[in-house]
């Protein structure tokens, strides 16, 4: 009975990951992260992704504050924040978030405020989609570990 539960959950996990790769949400760098996880570092992917979420949300909040300011003119600062987002997204394999950040950055280099506002909306949308997908993935993995009789250190 337990065995069946684990297999079904593993199939769900594989299906979700395949879909995310297929959509271009994730790329091969995510696979690299998974390769770095083992018994000596059993929650590595979970840990890195959570650090990424914390950092990204700080940057997104800062970007929104900057752009909401009517007297805004610091495009250079926007560029710096976006460099960080592009870099960290690329490091965890978040291909789509990275790409929309690059597009946003191009708008900021042209000092195009409406373009930047649109860019930010797109980035926020892609980021939240990724976050929801990662939460679903971690939930499935936790369930699978429980089904296999292992306690997940949450």
């Amino acid at each position: 009975m337990l065995g069946l539960g684990v297999d079904r959950l593993q199939a769900d996990i594989n299906r979700l990951l395949t879909s995310l790769f297929h959509q271009g949400v994730l790329d091969e760098q995510f696979l690299q992260l998974q390769q770095l996880q083992d018994e000596t570092s059993p929650t590595f992917v979970y840990d890195v992704i959570n650090i990424y979420f914390d950092e990204s949300e700080k940057l997104l909040r800062s970007l929104r504050l900057l752009l909401m300011d009517r007297e805004f003119s610091d495009y250079k600062k926007i560029g710096l924040h976006l460099n960080q987002l592009v870099g960290s997204s690329s490091s965890i394999g978040a291909r789509r978030v990275r790409n929309v950040c690059v597009a946003f950055r191009s708008a900021s280099e042209l000092n195009n405020r409406p373009g930047c506002l649109r860019g930010l909306e797109v980035v926020e949308h892609e980021y939240h989609y990724l976050k929801n997908m990662m939460h679903e993935l971690f939930q499935l993995e936790q369930q699978r570990l429980l089904a296999a009789g292992v306690r997940y250190p949450m």
């Binding site: 770095l36 840990d47 710096l80 690329s90």
Partner: protein, 185 residues
């Protein structure tokens, strides 16, 4: 600033100083190096890296380093001191210029790469850094160390070799003379 292992260093394990302003990238590079059996110390800026090495002019901070650093891996684009500027400072120092320095960058800019290699960088890695990159790097650094050892062992054995060569030489001469004598007789 994460401090590395403070136990006495083992000669077989590399101690790497990783410099990156991105917390996500620090976590990833640290894991890449650890899984490749390296000791790792991560710092968030070039300034911190210099402090760790004791190069910032403040005598007091040199006590932080308990392990010899065998390799420095640094991001290029960092606020304050860039990776390139850090590379220059390390190559200018008599104490640390022998330590290989590797630059990482998410941007594939040829003039930037050339500038770093000219300044003495060991290698230039494109981000995101992969396990294969770290493995290759480790082999390069370890082989560099082995080549050093081989060079010294050749020098040490050369007096022995000269003696061996001489003995061989005398044997040949003795043998030839014996043959000639037998021939004459």
């Amino acid at each position: 600033m994460a401090l590395g292992d403070l136990s006495s260093s083992s000669t077989s394990e590399l101690h790497v100083l990783a410099v990156d302003d991105s917390i996500v990238d620090r976590k990833v590079i640290e894991r890449l190096l650890r899984i490749s059996a390296c000791k790792v110390t991560t710092v968030e800026s070039g300034t911190r890296a210099l402090q760790y090495l004791g190069l910032d002019g403040d005598k007091g901070s040199s006590g932080l380093k308990d392990l010899k650093v065998n390799l420095i891996v640094t991001d290029y684009s960092m606020p304050g001191l860039t990776g390139y500027e850090l590379l220059k400072k390390i190559k200018e120092s008599s104490a640390f210029r022998e330590i290989p320095v590797v630059i990482m960058s998410s941007e594939n800019i040829q003039p930037r790469i050339e500038q770093c290699m000219t300044e003495g960088a060991e290698d230039f890695l494109l981000k995101p850094v992969k396990l294969a990159d770290v493995k290759r790097l480790k082999e390069l650094i370890m082989r560099g160390g082995e080549a050093e050892q081989e060079k010294t062992s050749n020098l040490i054995s050369s007096p022995k070799r000269i003696l061996q060569n001489n003995i061989f030489f005398f044997f040949i001469i003795f043998f030839i003379i014996t043959i000639i004598v037998i021939f004459i007789v």
